[in-house]
Subunit: 299 residues, 2 copies
């Protein structure tokens, strides 16, 4: 169980410090991903009619109930922007409401939006992300690292896509450079350098990295190249990474990574269970327990 | 001036065919970028009070008036999603309204969102893009090309970021691979291959490429690697690419590229001119005339 939020946890204006303090508070380096799709919602929250406004209302109910169910166990929640954007302006309203709910319960909020652009445009995306109340945003490195700076203003952080867990990412991220590095390793080196100017009291940077643990030993080499980056680690469970793989994303002191799980937690109740939220809470508690123990935050 | 829309132009369900037919109809291979920011709006459309709801209303008025001013000259309009997203759900409503307006006046619509993700998430982004009525979406290649497929469904197309016009992009896109290609060239080769399955009657693919003309001769080499890709070409004017640079993005037959201009057109009126929309129309007409002549669509 997470300790009740105290004044200590609200004093930090550095995103890595806040994130790690939330991890300490819940004794679990984990994040639940909220990427709700209509077809998988429990019947008890689904709309009786298939209309856009009733469907987005069902997404809203589900999001809020999941957040309430997991808040006692989980320090960080990640919102998949696309799942809300597909409902247009109503979806954005629901997204921001849910982000606000998570923050009000003391959780750190990641907006998984994978944004990336140049110049002034990035300032608009960063403003949009903060409008919803995010602490961190996921971003793409393809246009370079300098353009990402607006995402780091006002005490915000950004997780840069470095090595993603999907099969198709190899075609880009595993390309071999003339200097012997892969593209992902080159991104890691640039990221480590770009993040040097923003190290918090915790020793970690406001620029983190998305690194999946589904690609052989790639994540081990990337961990060595980015000692001061927090890793956001997808791929546990549904996507095939095991506990041992994921643990290699942490530094030797048991810190430095946040493991995400989505479907394994938010759909734990099944579609027909009217008490589905209890199953979600149980799954969240077990997920937190497993990784809290594995990294030594729980005995 | 564009010809009035006829039945011929509405019969195509392939995005490249639609785009090129729009170019023919207006005798100009050009696109105007709508990326409105409050500080640059003409005083006559600005709100009297600085409140979010009045500001987004000003963005809406400006967007609609620009679209009406340029519709007689310009075949394609590109909406910068971030400029609307920063206003939250109200901004999305304004964006979709403006996209709908452009489509109703016969223009092809590009949503410049630079999205990229994996699996089901891409389907949500693609659904979101179509919800607004886009013909094309800009997307990022960093997670691989297979995940982009949902953006190509229902007669839609996608412009993939290959070589962007910003200075910082060199650090990623100019990295040299062991096989002698740059990262951008490798992306181009993969893009050309991924686009082979979706060639329209025009000979162009539903997968296009964003290629700036501000990087020496990079765009010339990329043109040769992607003969069947439509190029969306930023960087003309404000970002430093000249007419001759940009013309090298076209194929030898004068087709294959769409040149974008934003600030040079949408802010042509200046902030104090109550008749600013006339200046916008004049700038759009001149932009269309310059490139219509340059590629031989006008005498």
């Amino acid at each position: 169980m997470c300790r009740v939020n105290d004044t200590e946890t609200t004093g930090h204006n550095h995103p890595a410090d806040r994130l790690l303090q939330a991890v300490e508070r819940c004794a679990a380096p984990v994040c639940v991903g909220l990427d709700p799709v209509l077809e998988r919602l429990p019947m008890s929250v689904r709309a009786e009619v298939d209309l856009p406004e009733s469907n987005v209302e069902a997404i809203s109910r589900f999001s809020i109930e999941v957040i309430e169910a997991i808040a006692a166990h989980i320090p960080v929640v990640k919102f998949q922007s696309a799942c809300y954007e597909r409902f247009g302006s109503a979806g954005i309203r629901v997204l921001h409401h849910a982000m606000d709910k998570a923050a009000s319960l003391g959780m750190q909020v990641i907006l998984d939006a994978k944004r990336g652009d140049i110049g002034l445009t990035v300032e608009h995306y960063a403003a949009s992300s903060r409008l919803g109340g995010s602490d961190w945003t996921t971003v793409s490195p393809y246009l370079g690292f300098n353009p990402l700076r607006p995402f780091l203003e006002s005490g915000s952080g950004a997780f840069v896509l470095v090595r993603t867990s999907n099969p198709d990412s190899d075609a880009v991220q595993s390309l071999m450079l003339a200097d012997g590095r892969t593209v992902a390793q080159a991104m890691a080196d640039q990221l480590a350098q770009a993040g040097e100017g923003g190290i918090g009291a915790s020793g970690y940077s406001h620029l983190g990295a998305v690194v999946g643990a589904t690609k052989g030993a790639d994540h081990v080499a990337l961990r060595a190249r980015m000692p001061q980056q927090l890793f956001l680690v997808p791929g546990y469970g549904a996507q095939g990474a095991g506990l041992d793989d994921v643990l290699e994303c942490f530094n030797a002191d048991g810190r430095g990574a946040i493991v995400t799980s989505s479907r394994g937690v938010i759909y734990a109740g099944g579609v027909d269970d009217p008490n589905w939220a209890e199953a979600v809470a149980d799954a969240a508690a077990a997920f937190a327990e497993d990784f809290g123990q594995a990294v030594g935050l729980r005995s």
